[in-house]
Structure formats: C-alpha cells, structure tokens
C-alpha cells in the first residue's frame, strides 16, 4: 500500500478514537461513539494487514480467531456485577500484549539504542501491568484474599526490585544481553504481584483505574518500539483516561495515590471496632417504612454495593415504579465509590431499566437532601457516614459523603449494624430521624412494593 494512503488511513482511525470518546460525553450519544471507535479500530487493523512488512498470515489468523472467540464469549457472558473483574482482566491482556510485542522485537535483534530503550520500557510496563491486573482480578473475584497481603521488609524488597529493574534495563540497552533481558522480564512480572498483593480490597477501584492507565501507556510504549503513531495516540488517550479516573476515585475515597499503592489499608473482611450496636436504634418494620415512603413527595434513594450483592436492583425499580404511580418523585444519589469501580452503580441501575436522568452525582444531589422527605439508604454504609463530615478524629474524616441525615426521615435497609469496608461505626444509625429496617435488601424491597401498594 502507498505510504501516504497508509498514513492517511491511520490518521482517520486516530480521529475516530478521539471523536468516539468525545461522544461518551452523554448517554444519548455514547453508543454511537463506541461504534465509531470500533470502526476506527477496524480500519487500523485492515491497513496493517495490507502493510508490506506483513508477509505471512497464518499465525495472525490463529491469534485473531482465538482472541475473537474468547473476547466475544467474555463480553456476552459477563454479569454486570462482575464488570470490575472483566476490566481488570482486560487491563492485564492489554499490558501482556505490549510485553509480548516488545519481547518479540528484542528476539529479532538489531535494535539501535533508541529502540532498545523503548523495548525495555514496553516490556517492563506491559509485564507489571499484566501480573498486577491478574492479582487485582483475583482479589475482586475472591480467589486471592481481599485483605492486604504483605511480609516484613516488603518496602525494602520492592526498592531493591526497582533498582535491579533499572540496572538491568541499562545493561540490556548497552549490550543487548539476552540473559539480562529475561531476568528483567521476570522481575517486572514479579513486581506487579508484590505491589498489588498488599493493597486492600476496598482500594481496588483505584487500582484498576490506575492499571487501566498503565495498559494505555504500555500500548503507547509498544508504539515507540515499532514507530507507530496510531499506537502512541491511542495509548496516550487511554493513559490520560485512566489517570483521570484514578484521580476521581482517590479523591472520593479521601486517599492519595501513593497511600493506596503503598497498601495496607482496610480489612476488606470488615469487623474491627468494638462498640458497635451498644446504642439504641429506631427499629422499623416494613409497614412503617411503606407508610413513610407512600406519603412522601420527594424520595432520594442511596444505593450501595450491598444492593448489587443482593441482586436487588430490579426490586428497587419495582418499588420506585409503585411510588411514582402514587406521585412520589424518586431520584437516586450515586456516590463515586458506590460500586466496585468508577460508574459501576450506574450500570447496575441502568440494567434494571432505571432511567439515567434520575441518577445524580454527589455534587448535584447533596443540597437536595434538605428538601427531601425520605432518604432511602440501601446497602450503603461508609458513603453516608456523618463522621466523615463531623468527626475530625474519624479515620474517614474528609471523605465526601451523601448528606442523608439532612432529609426529614432517613430509612436504612441493612442486614445488621455491622460496619462497612472502613471498619468503623456509623452514627447515622443512632440519629433520631433514622429508621432502621433490618433485612436483606432484596427481601425488604420486595415486601415494600406490596406494602406501599396497600398503604
């Protein structure tokens, strides 16, 4: 193919990626944006297949066939609650692909200094992204313990690894040593594991956003290796995207990126504080709550991950429909860390056919609570803990929360008074305006539907 035509088509693909991402600015245009990006990818792949350097198609066909079947099956079968695991796995595949490309280029040999540097960067970033993502996948899936797993002297060990990686990288660049290269690959694979293992399960949203960024940077690094602008552009876009999401998550959890990556925070298995459940709470039954909801005008629902675990999204939608048919205005307040990854709760509610224009972000809904009759908290805990706002001594002090205690009545549906991920008690449960309905989210919401109908 003509060089100018080839460059032009790659440019077209890059433009399709950018415009595709731009269309993600609204749910109304997002689907067409994703398709536009897919068309860009298709063009880029076709142009590459026509490249004069590509002389044999057999192995490419094998790889594409395996990848297509696996990708399509994963995409079709995954449960929406398992999206974080899937994205973690995809981050790993992306990093892995870049590492394999770099390794193949190293084996081919004859790289000049500039290319050798990019090969080292690509293989290191790609390899640690791959193993780091697989550990994150394991933690989300529950195969690897969610609690921080570390050992004495971990920081020292990691520092030694980093120094060794830099030193080996220099050796590989200077004298193309094969032995040094494979030890380098091994260390990069190892550091991905030892760096993610000590990070607690509650911090996984930050970790997968960060690894998302890393997989983009790995793609860009592979672009430097084979001198391809389309890889550099697409990789940079993904790198930027992941970094923005990492920053949002870190802020929403009141953490720092360094703090998260150093690890050791959060039990992941819950249950630390000793004084939980000693204060009196206002216990309500289904009928009390049904009356409160049925005669309200403004209800704001605060869904938490407990809702998704109980698969109660559909029951929640039924309850909202019932309330809306009585003229109650129902809206949803979504905390950035309500799910297990950025935007996860929105997807889970969309799956239950809840209209996206009723979902509000923290900044947009917080002042509305003061005007709401009922705040209905389902399966959320830390994100509605007033200590984060009022108690400077609290470990979560400073974390942005949803001000549900400002509503006239706050109803909390929860199985028990057990603490959330942060492992601390929630004073909200003992407030005068709070009604506690102790039950499984799905069972409670299902019985509320009938009770509201009869109220």
């Amino acid at each position: 193919m003509n060089d100018v035509l080839e460059a032009g088509l790659y440019l077209l693909a890059a433009i399709a990626f950018i415009l595709g991402l731009k269309r993600l600015a609204s749910p109304a245009t997002a689907r067409s944006g994703n398709r536009l990006a897919a068309i860009g990818m298709f063009v880029a792949v076709l142009v590459t297949l026509a490249d004069r350097n590509v002389i044999s198609y057999w192995w490419i066909a094998v790889g594409v066939a395996i990848g297509s079947v696996a990708g399509a099956l994963l995409a079709k079968r995954v449960e929406m609650t398992a999206m974080p695991e899937l994205v973690a796995a995809f981050n790993g595949f992306g990093g892995g692909a870049s590492a394999f490309v770099a390794a193949a280029e190293f084996i081919r040999g004859g790289a000049d200094v500039r290319t050798a540097i990019t090969i080292v960067l690509s293989v290191v970033i790609g390899a640690l992204t791959m193993t780091g993502s697989f550990v994150a996948f394991g933690k989300l899936k529950g195969i690897v313990p969610g609690r921080p797993v570390g050992f004495a002297g971990q920081q020292f060990f990691d520092a030694v690894q980093v120094i060794a990686i830099v030193a080996l990288g220099v050796i590989v660049v200077v004298n193309e040593s094969s032995g040094a290269f494979w030890v380098l690959v091994g260390l990069a694979l190892l550091i991905g594991v030892t760096r993610v293992l000590p990070i607690g399960g509650a911090d996984m949203p930050v970790v997968i956003a960060f690894l998302n960024s890393a997989s983009g940077v790995a793609a860009a690094a592979a672009g430097f290796v084979i001198d391809s602008n389309i890889l550099i552009i697409a990789g940079a876009l993904v790198g930027a995207s992941g970094l923005i999401l990492t920053n949002i998550m870190v802020k929403a959890m009141n953490r720092t990126l360094v703090g998260v990556l150093v690890g050791g925070f959060g039990g992941g298995d819950g249950g630390v504080a000793g004084e939980i459940g000693t204060l009196p709470v206002k216990r309500a039954d289904v009928d009390d709550v049904a009356i409160t909801l049925a005669y309200a005008r403004e209800v704001i629902v605060v869904p938490g991950y407990g809702l998704a675990v109980a698969q109660a999204q559909h029951a929640l939608r039924d309850l909202a429909n019932e309330l809306e048919s009585r003229g109650v205005n129902v809206r949803y307040a979504i905390h950035p860390v309500a799910g297990r990854m950025p935007g996860h709760m929105n997807v889970l509610l969309a799956e239950a056919d809840i209209s996206y224009d009723k979902l509000y972000d923290l900044e947009d809904i917080n002042r509305e609570f003061a005007r709401a009759d009922v705040a209905l908290v389902v399966g959320a805990n830390d994100v509605v803990n007033p200590s984060a706002r009022d108690d400077a001594a609290s470990p979560i002090y400073g974390m942005p929360i949803l001000d549900v205690d400002q509503a006239t009545t706050c109803v909390v549906i929860k199985r028990s008074l057990s603490p959330g991920f942060a492992g601390i008690d929630n004073p909200l449960f003992y407030f005068d305006g709070t009604l506690m309905l102790f039950d499984d989210a799905r069972a409670a919401l299902t019985s509320l539907v009938g009770a509201v109908r009869n109220a």
Partner: protein, 90 residues
C-alpha cells in the same frame, strides 16, 4: 523526538475529551478504553506476520490473541452496557 511530541499532544487531547465524560458513563469509558488500548493489535500483527523466526512469531501470535480479546471483548461489552442506558419517555 517527533513521537514524544505526538504522545504528549494526544495525552492533552485525552485529558480535554475525557474530563467531559459524566460519572454515569465511567464504567463504559473504562471498558471502551480497554478496547482502544487493544490497538497493540496493530503492532502484534506486524510482529507476528513479518516472518522473523519462530520464537518472535510465536510471541507475536500470543500478542495478537491477547490484543484481539481486548478489541473484540472491549467494544462488545461496552456496546452491551450502553444499550441499557435508557431515558424514560416524558
């Protein structure tokens, strides 16, 4: 040097475009960017198809398979999610 310029400019474009993505679409944004980072497929195809020895070809083929999972799986699952985002008719 030119490549670094391209990288930095693309990152700036990325920041500008992606800051405008609302939180409600952050999960599809992540799975969609998984698909876009599958662009490594382009490099993998060249490496696997160039005929530069068995070892390089095998590594290239693994790279092709991994990147294709990202491309195919990423775009499909994002489409599946975005299809669910609906607005009630007024």
């Amino acid at each position: 040097m030119l490549s670094i310029t391209v990288f930095v400019l693309a990152a700036f474009v990325g920041f500008e475009v992606i800051t405008k993505v609302p939180p409600t679409l952050h999960t599809p944004l992540m799975s969609g960017s998984n698909a876009v980072s599958g662009i490594t497929l382009v490099a993998a195809i060249i490496v696997a198809g160039r005929g530069s020895g068995t070892a390089a070809t095998v590594l290239g083929t693994v790279a092709v398979a991994l990147a294709t999972v990202n491309v195919v799986g990423g775009f499909l699952v994002t489409d599946r999610m975005l299809e669910m985002f609906k607005k009630d008719r007024p």
